[in-house]
């Protein structure tokens, strides 16, 4: 399909404000401005969107923009990452921890292709980011030019939307739209690909006040009748459960969920992405559900007569075997994305809308004088499960540091109040089980895509966006090495990032699966030749510490958490420990496997890879 200039650009009249000379300290509105080149227009537009930080890496096709960044020092911060993947994950960490749109900037070709993992990660976890990539000049596009790649084509399936800016006059409206699309509806990543000559061309900056997207109208309010049906069901169904996910975090709806749960005396189970959206210490919280969720959370889902899902999407890690999932339950599904409803599980009461808005509608439907339903029998069952099947692990005695104990100590020493980032694997699941975050925006993890290497840059994004808070990365010896080069960024930018490596010398989660499902035929999971992480930290200019014995653990963590700047704590933990409980992939909730008896003392050493 061809098109002339986008119609909305012609409709833009009265610009809200025009740009100022770079020297002007206050971005006050001026009626008309001088023509400026695309590179400067881009940065002025970012400032108008409230962007204070760009995570990026320069290169040929984006040179004009970096030239303007140099001229704008003091107005916009640029964090120089050491690999473009790190820029995108940092923007994600910034976005998730602050609630604002994260921004990454890269050059054409390999710079842009290196963002693909980050874009796919943000797409799966609905994280609002805008990635700006340089592109070769328009007359070279399609010529296999140096550092040329079809970036719009490559990133189309892993962005919410993407743009190739074909004229400098389209640039301002494109940036406006990109930020609007990133943060509204189901949030997600947007990529803007800008040919080098477009950043060199000049025009008058006219920043539109409004976007014109005739086909894009996200539904915020739920259908009133369906909301009423859902509330009636919640009031009259005894065995009910609230299942809350990342949508609650994205809509900042934790307070509303708390009210709903308390008004109706409902048990609540958060997903991995929903951790922090309901207080973990609350008596109605059952803990996380899913493959490594608590026994109680999973059995509650299996036995409930009513499942009310809010901002969660019935992911395969949550449902297990679909034909055995919640067979007798009526399902209410609140989701801003209509395509999530009825996708995996047949829904009885579909409600398309924003989590916070819909829960407010629900609260308004509850009669003011309603006495919370006691659900006595249901709660008794749940309490029995909680008593009989708590999260537990075996004590390592005075020889072996248990990874779960590390997480518990970290939670204690940080008062559960750090912004926790994780990578992917066993440490991620233990962190989810044993570090109860106080807020959804204090828990940064790669849920949908499962990206090893997400953690360190995400922790950088959190540290950048929240300079007064502690940014704690819980990682493993495998994941950490995937983006380890970002240690340089942490030191360069003087970031307050604390890294706790649960070092078991293995790709532990893969090893666990090989142990359980491949007859212990360990294949390429032993990290026999891993580097000395203490020396690595020191070589980068940070602080390195190690604990190898339980007796050293507390003092190492205390020292590490209180040392300013970048600290890497290499914690040598049990090699054999598995994550339990576990529902095998494709198994049903009632087939949940609990771990070995915690009362049996230290684990027997097993021969590993």
């Amino acid at each position: 399909m061809s098109s002339a200039r986008a119609p909305h650009l012609q409709e833009v009249t009265a610009p809200a404000s025009a740009a100022n000379p770079a020297s002007a300290p206050v971005p006050a509105a001026e009626p008309v401005s001088e023509p400026m080149r695309g590179a400067k227009i881009l940065l002025e537009c970012l400032l108008k969107e409230g962007v204070d930080t760009i995570f990026g890496y320069p290169g040929g096709a984006i040179l004009h923009v970096y030239d303007e960044i140099a001229k704008m020092r003091g107005r916009i911060r640029h964090v120089l990452v050491r690999h473009e993947q790190g820029a995108v994950h940092a923007a994600e960490g910034y976005a998730r921890s602050t609630g604002r749109v994260g921004v990454a900037m890269v050059t054409s070709g390999p710079g842009a292709t290196n963002t693909v993992t980050g874009l796919a990660n943000a797409y799966m976890d609905s994280t609002p980011i805008v990635v700006i990539s340089g592109q070769v000049a328009r007359n070279l596009i399609g010529n296999d030019a140096f550092q040329e790649a079809d970036v719009v084509g490559i990133t189309r399936p892993c962005t919410k939307y993407n743009y190739l800016v074909r004229d400098v006059t389209e640039l301002a409206a494109t940036v406006k739209e990109a930020f609007y699309l990133a943060r509204t509806g189901r949030p997600g990543p947007i990529l803007i690909d800008i040919p080098k000559d477009v950043t060199a061309e000049t025009c008058i900056l006219e920043y539109p006040e409004k976007v014109d997207l005739p086909s894009y109208k996200p539904t915020m309010r739920g259908h009133a009748m369906q909301v009423k049906r859902a509330v009636d069901l919640m009031m009259k169904t005894d065995k009910a459960v609230l299942y809350v996910g990342g949508g609650v975090v994205a809509s900042d709806g934790a307070d509303e969920i708390l009210q709903l749960a308390e008004r109706l005396n409902l048990p609540v189970t958060p997903t991995l992405m929903g951790l922090g959206s309901f207080p973990c210490g609350h008596s109605q919280c059952l803990g996380m559900l899913g493959m490594h969720g608590t026994y109680t959370a999973n059995m509650t889902m299996a036995k409930a007569d009513l499942i009310v899902s809010i901002g969660a999407r019935f992911d395969d890690r949550v449902t297990g075997r679909l034909d055995a999932f919640a067979k007798n339950a009526t399902i209410v599904h609140v989701d801003i994305d209509p395509a999530n409803v009825n996708k995996n599980v047949k829904t009885h009461v579909p409600i398309v809308g924003d989590a916070k808005t819909v829960v407010r509608q629900m609260l308004a439907e509850i009669p003011a004088n309603l006495v919370p339903p006691p659900r006595a029998e249901w709660w008794k069952t749940l309490r029995d499960w909680q008593r009989d099947f708590p999260l537990a692990y075996r004590d390592g005695g005075d020889t072996v540091i248990m990874p779960q104990h590390v997480i518990q100590l970290l939670a204690e020493l940080t008062n559960n109040d750090a912004i926790v980032s994780t990578d992917v694997g066993q440490h991620q699941m233990w962190a989810a089980q044993y570090y109860p975050p106080k807020h959804g925006r204090s828990w940064l993890t790669s849920g949908g895509l499962g990206t090893m290497g997400y953690g360190l840059p995400a922790a950088m994004g959190a540290a950048t966006g929240n300079p007064d808070r502690l940014s704690l990365l819980i990682t493993g010896d495998g994941s950490f090495q995937m983006t380890i080069q970002e240690l340089a960024t942490c030191v360069h930018e003087n970031m307050n990032v604390k890294v706790a490596i649960l070092n078991n010398g293995h790709l532990g989660m893969v090893r666990q699966w090989q142990e359980l499902f491949y007859s212990r035929r360990y294949s390429e999971v032993g990290m026999k030749f891993f580097p000395d992480f203490v020396k690595i930290a020191e070589a980068y200019g940070g602080t390195g510490l190690r604990a190898a014995k339980p007796a050293e653990l507390r003092s190492v963590l205390e020292k590490g958490l209180s040392t300013p700047g970048l600290v890497v704590m290499d914690l040598i933990v049990s090699e054999e420990e598995n994550v339990y409980p576990m529902i095998a992939a494709g198994a049903a909730h009632y087939e949940i496997v609990m771990g070995p008896d915690p009362n049996k003392g230290p684990p027997e050493p097993r021969e590993l890879a």
Binding site: S3, Y161, R166, G185, D337
Partner: protein, 176 residues
């Protein structure tokens, strides 16, 4: 065979939007059987009419995923008889002998097709009908010797009075 579905997708007429629609199908493991695209009365919009096969659940997902696309304004399922469907077929027939020519003339007038080009030994016939009728038409011609054949993708439109039909297929909300 899973049921056939005709979907009409109204999309903003912009660079790259067709690729998004097509990519959605391949990326999510759906099949496109046929595809027709052209501009609408409003030149800022294009209409894509595509046919696909799948269970109700699969088609519900396809429709929802299409509606999620930022520049897709409307998706209508046009599979029932409230909608008119037409497909164009151009077929070149070997008809050198008198008998063959007579037989061809009979079939062409019978079904309301027409001859649009010819040579001493062959005729090119144009026929516009539903996909099913075109199938039958080709079966009639097959014994005469089909030298070449091209079919367009079907296009579809609501019959007068049914203009708003088909829009409520799983209308659970707008884009997200």
């Amino acid at each position: 065979m899973k049921p056939r579905h005709v979907l009409s997708v109204l999309v903003e007429n912009r660079f790259g939007e067709l690729a998004r629609v097509v990519g959605l199908f391949s990326g999510r493991g759906f099949n496109i059987d046929s595809l027709a695209v052209n501009v609408t009365i409003d030149p800022t919009f294009s209409r894509i009419v595509l046919t696909t096969h799948g269970s109700e659940q699969v088609v519900e997902q396809i429709v929802k995923q299409l509606r999620k696309l930022v520049r897709v304004k409307k998706v209508v399922e046009m599979s029932d008889d409230r909608f008119l469907e037409r497909e164009l077929c151009l077929v070149t027939i070997q008809a050198s002998g008198a008998h063959g020519r007579q037989e061809l003339e009979r079939i062409v007038s019978l079904v309301g097709a027409r001859v649009v080009a010819y040579s001493p030994t062959a005729f090119t016939v144009e026929h516009t009908a539903t996909s099913k009728d075109i199938d039958q038409f080709l079966e009639l011609l097959r014994p005469l010797g089909i030298r070449d054949m091209v079919r367009s993708a079907p296009i579809a439109v609501a019959r007068p009075g049914a203009e708003n039909a088909g829009e409520n297929v799983q209308s659970l909300g707008g884009a997200a």
